[in-house]
Symmetry: C2
Subunit: 651 residues, 2 copies
């Protein structure tokens, strides 16, 4: 299969967008365009019908076999969209990713894919609303993007919670049974057993546990009584369990719970729920590239430690294959479309603090092959560049081996004014007046934040383009200042973008510049580099990120963090990359330190490990892994028009 597969790629709508002024609500814009059948998108990009599973008319899962089919095709250019340190409102990274894709696909007429994260359903009904982009730069149908999609997050919930149930059930069975009873249940004899137990058999997953225990035997009969005891007893120390249950709902009353209070259990244990996207299974989905690799990672997931201090993983619980089967469809990315008919992959959406916050490697890999060497894949990294982009490079690209050519840094005049000392911005309340009138002084001061993100991003060896996401209240002088100072800070280009109001037509200059920069970068293959080598110690890696990117003067490790680092190092987990769990609202640990702070000491409160996903995550302050519902959640407005069958009130 040659790259000519893509010469005729036409993946845009036959009729251009007709943007309306003022821009209607997101769902009204989304519903103003009839989505194309997804099968016409898949055929336009060359996916054979039998490598695709439709989920209704506008969503389809693409088989991993596409990677084999396209093995010999040269990849397209790889562009990551990141941002400055945002306000709590977000500065439009998703909207810019979609708008840029619409510009490249529907206006420059180049093969183009945009790869996005699947949003959690929790915030959709809570305070934030949907996440399909906005205005005339959206993924459609936006209600399907925001709700259920193709069930991947539900599959993660199911897999995560099956493992959680298995942990507590296993502890109960071990506590209430002697070794022989456990052995007879785990490896039962067949009804025709001659009485010597020769009909006992190990399930294949049990061999993994035996291997870990150093018991090199495959027949149950061969085990000594001492080996049987070691095999049947996981001896999980309940105080060490880090595997929480999850739900894809903003349910703050599950932040702290006691389980096991039933009359038949009576074994209380304090634990908590996280929102599903915080599950390690989500992080694995985003980092894997095959069923075999996903299974390996699932098996390695550490759920806690035994009383003897040994890590206990999913293989020990015998559940790895079941987790894989629950996730076998979720591993396929979901094909959708933008408002201008550009193909979209939606796949995975790990937390951007306790996990790496990037959409899946699989989606990017398939898309890079589908667009071919003349095309472009735009992918988005969560939070600001200090977090999402650093993790994109040091975790996602290191895992995938993919090399980006260009980073697009999204900035807004609003956020830069905030960094310059503007009033506090709070989600759900009206924006203070200071953000709606020209204030060059405030802006100039705040550009320090953008400048540092530019400098930081350049350290990774990519081209850096600044996209100023324009608001109607921004003045020309303000927009010019941002562009000018971006270039002074080292950006390869800076462009005012108006894709929210105009669709792809509002981001054509950016698209051209990104396209040219990618072509330049592709000529020299050695540009991209990681921030740190994996061989450094856990502490050295943390210090590298803190000092080189955050500009901390130093790092302070709590005694707990020191203890955990020692334990992880002892267990051989110290060669993993680092995934900083830090606020996205400041370069520092303190959300109130705006702009480009210097000289602070970064405190590491605790250190945790996602051994299956493959990273160590230091906790810089408290990280909430479960949002709550406000007094008047978004759900009050969500409904269906029973006459038209359309969803209303989503935004």
């Amino acid at each position: 299969m040659a790259a000519t597969n893509f010469v005729d790629w036409v993946c845009k709508r036959s009729t251009p967008l007709s943007p309306v002024v003022p821009v209607p609500s997101d769902i009204d814009v989304a519903q103003s365009v009839d989505a194309l059948p997804v099968s016409s998108i898949s055929r336009a990009v060359g996916i054979p019908d039998d490598h695709l599973d439709l989920y209704g008319k506008y969503k389809a899962k693409v088989h991993l076999s596409e990677l084999d089919r396209l093995a010999s095709v040269e990849q397209g250019s790889y562009v990551v969209v990141t941002g400055i340190t945002p306000t709590p409102l977000g500065e439009g990274k998703s909207t810019t990713s979609v708008g840029l894709a619409q510009a490249v696909g529907a206006h420059l007429n180049k093969p183009c894919f945009v790869c996005l994260r699947q949003p959690s359903q929790g915030p959709t009904f809570g305070i934030k609303g949907g996440a399909a982009g906005g205005g005339y730069s959206q993924v459609i149908p936006m209600e399907e993007f925001n709700l259920h999609l193709t069930g991947d997050i539900h599959a993660i919930t199911a897999a995560n919670n099956l493992l959680a149930a298995a942990i507590d059930a296993r502890m109960l069975h071990e506590a209430t049974s002697d070794d022989n009873a456990l052995w007879n249940r785990l490896c039962p004899t067949a009804p025709n057993d001659p009485g010597d137990g020769s009909t006992r058999e190990f399930a294949p997953v049990m061999l993994k546990r035996l291997e870990k225990l150093g018991i090199n035997k495959t027949k149950p009969m061969e085990l000594t009584q001492e080996e049987i005891t070691r095999f049947v007893r996981l001896n999980i120390n309940p105080d060490t369990i880090t595997w929480n249950r999850v739900v894809d709902t903003n349910d703050r009353f599950l932040r702290g719970i006691t389980v096991g209070l039933g009359n038949l259990e009576k074994r209380p244990r304090n634990t908590q729920y996280d929102i599903t996207v915080a599950s390690e299974i989500m992080a694995i989905l985003a980092l894997t590239d095959s069923l075999a690799d996903m299974k390996e990672r699932f098996g390695r997931m550490v759920i806690g430690f035994s009383h003897a201090g040994e890590p206990i993983n999913a293989n020990d619980l015998g559940i790895t294959g079941a987790l894989l089967v629950l996730m076998k469809d979720a591993i396929m990315p979901t094909l959708m479309q933008t408002l201008e008919g550009t193909p979209v992959f939606v796949h995975a959406g790990p937390f951007a603090n306790i996990a790496h916050g990037n959409s899946s490697i699989i989606a990017d890999k398939i898309a890079l092959k589908l667009v071919g060497p003349a095309g472009m894949v735009i992918t988005e990294a969560g939070f600001g560049a200090d977090i999402g982009f650093e993790k994109f490079c040091d975790i996602k690209c290191r895992t995938s081996g993919l090399v980006p050519q260009c980073a697009v840094l999204v900035a807004t005049v609003r956020a830069l004014k905030m960094h310059g000392g503007g009033p506090t911005v709070v989600a759900g309340t009206p924006l203070p007046g200071a953000y709606k009138t020209e204030n060059l002084e405030l802006l100039k001061k705040g550009i320090s934040n953008l400048a540092r993100h530019v400098e930081n991003s350049k350290k990774f060896g990519v081209a850096v383009m600044v996209a100023v996401n324009q608001y109607s209240t921004d003045s020309k002088a303000e927009l010019d200042m941002v562009c000018e100072m971006s270039k002074q800070a080292g950006a390869d280009g800076a462009f005012v973008c108006n894709h929210w109001a105009l669709g792809g037509a509002g981001a054509i200059d950016l698209a051209k510049a990104v396209s040219t920069a990618c072509a330049e970068k592709r000529k020299c293959t050695s540009g991209f580099r990681y921030l740190y080598p994996l061989e450094l110690s856990i502490k050295e890696k943390i210090i590298a990120i803190a000092t080189q990117l955050y500009h901390a003067a130093g790092v302070e490790f709590s005694p707990k963090a020191e203890e955990k680092i020692a334990a992880y190092t002892k267990n051989g987990f110290d060669k993993l990359p680092i995934c900083m769990a830090k606020t996205h609202l400041s370069f520092s640990h303190d959300a109130k330190m705006k702009g480009a702070p210097e000289g602070f000491i970064l405190p590491i409160r605790d250190v945790r490990a996602s051994v299956g996903a493959g990273f160590i995550y230091p906790l810089v302050g408290e990280m909430s892994t479960m949002p709550g519902l406000p007094t008047r959640p978004c759900f009050f407005d969500v409904d269906m028009n029973l006459t038209t069958g359309k969803v209303v009130g989503l935004f």
Copy 2:
């Protein structure tokens, strides 16, 4: 659209099954046949492509617009499969439903649909395994049937838990805010408000609450301070909350939990999780027939009572539209196929004790239209005929207005011997020897159970056919005795069936007899009747079921039950049908009373209401709504063959 739509219905495979002896494992049989593309099934039965959403190649959701398209078509015959009082192993109702459908469709060549419940994923990974039928009478692909399917149960989990989160969050906000703060957040002013609150607006769902409060106003400005207080404060009494969280996992440690222990909440409340299929939302999905009706029912769902004793429902919480949107795809039944190409609808699977245990009305209605007057729809009722069939008639058919012609009572020699005094049968342990050798005496004694089910079923005015689900260890004399005594008890026919080993070919005699009986019954429209009229009091209805069907000598109501009955009557819920929450292992409340017990007093421990679903459910003894995991759950065997991509170890 005339009935001729169906004259040319050919919905069977071009090559017949080739059963193997001995019958391989369920998943091996299921994978031995290449499933037809579901689009070839949908086209054969006349569903237009644009009334269908594919979910992969072998599953599709059928739009409710089929009901409009086929409005003028005469319905087919309606057959319900029920059973005797089973052993804990189950006696093969699903297998018989599928086998009978294969016989009618692929051997009698008549238009035929089988409508089944979607199984919970919990037991699939726990102790029970899958629920797609068995042997050569299965729904395929069985792994898709048993896992995720098209996401309906996941949607129920999401909807149920959003409501649960909203309840606790609302109580927290009410406890920590004064009336004005609540008012300002529930009905905020717009940024351009002149200061008099004239820009406040009610969300449409809020009007439902106002209506319930008897406040006949539509503008927030018009409310008095006293009305504002009543509007903003639900004043939920936490001790009365009956809305539990749910999960589709066997997680016994969630049977008793305390929530709200987080540092920011510190409002502990004892509650529990149920398995998802126990959610009232599942019961509603099974009983509704349109989006508008489903919305009405969601709005009526009572989650608890205020401190003043007023029922609080989903409308009060402003969440009805969001629940509807979450369930908008789940309301469509999922089209699949049997091993012999017969069309299958899989839709809804409510608990058979605390709910009515029958698959959806929507699936049955669409199927009855699709098969047309010459065709047959086979649907299955959960548990034995004392529970599932009674609820099929008194709740499901009363709600739908549909009239069944024939009931098929599934019996096994094994279960009848148990009723005759055979040894205890325990799931997960080998069957005692008594069940594997001829024992006519034990069998004869146990047929009392079958005889009573026959007599009971006849009371509803349907034809009653006994299907003896044959096992290899049954003797000819045993099988003959069951058939002979069934007819003596009043059955319209009794047939030995061997569809497990042979597919439809093993149930041809049954299929012919059911077909003939349906044709006879269709000639007289007045045969079918309910057991009791809705106008009776709650107690009278309970007594009617207990004495007429169970043969109890009387009913004893606990003080709690008396109190609840009084409260429900006062709130106008007393004209709802009754859904007995009773063990399925005996006609009585005591699972140990086998055969056809008489003279016992049926104890009613408590009475609850599913006001949205529309039934009162008396609790006869303890009902577990959350199964557990054994020491060696099914999940140990579940895996994927990474070479073939096939699921292994599901059964």
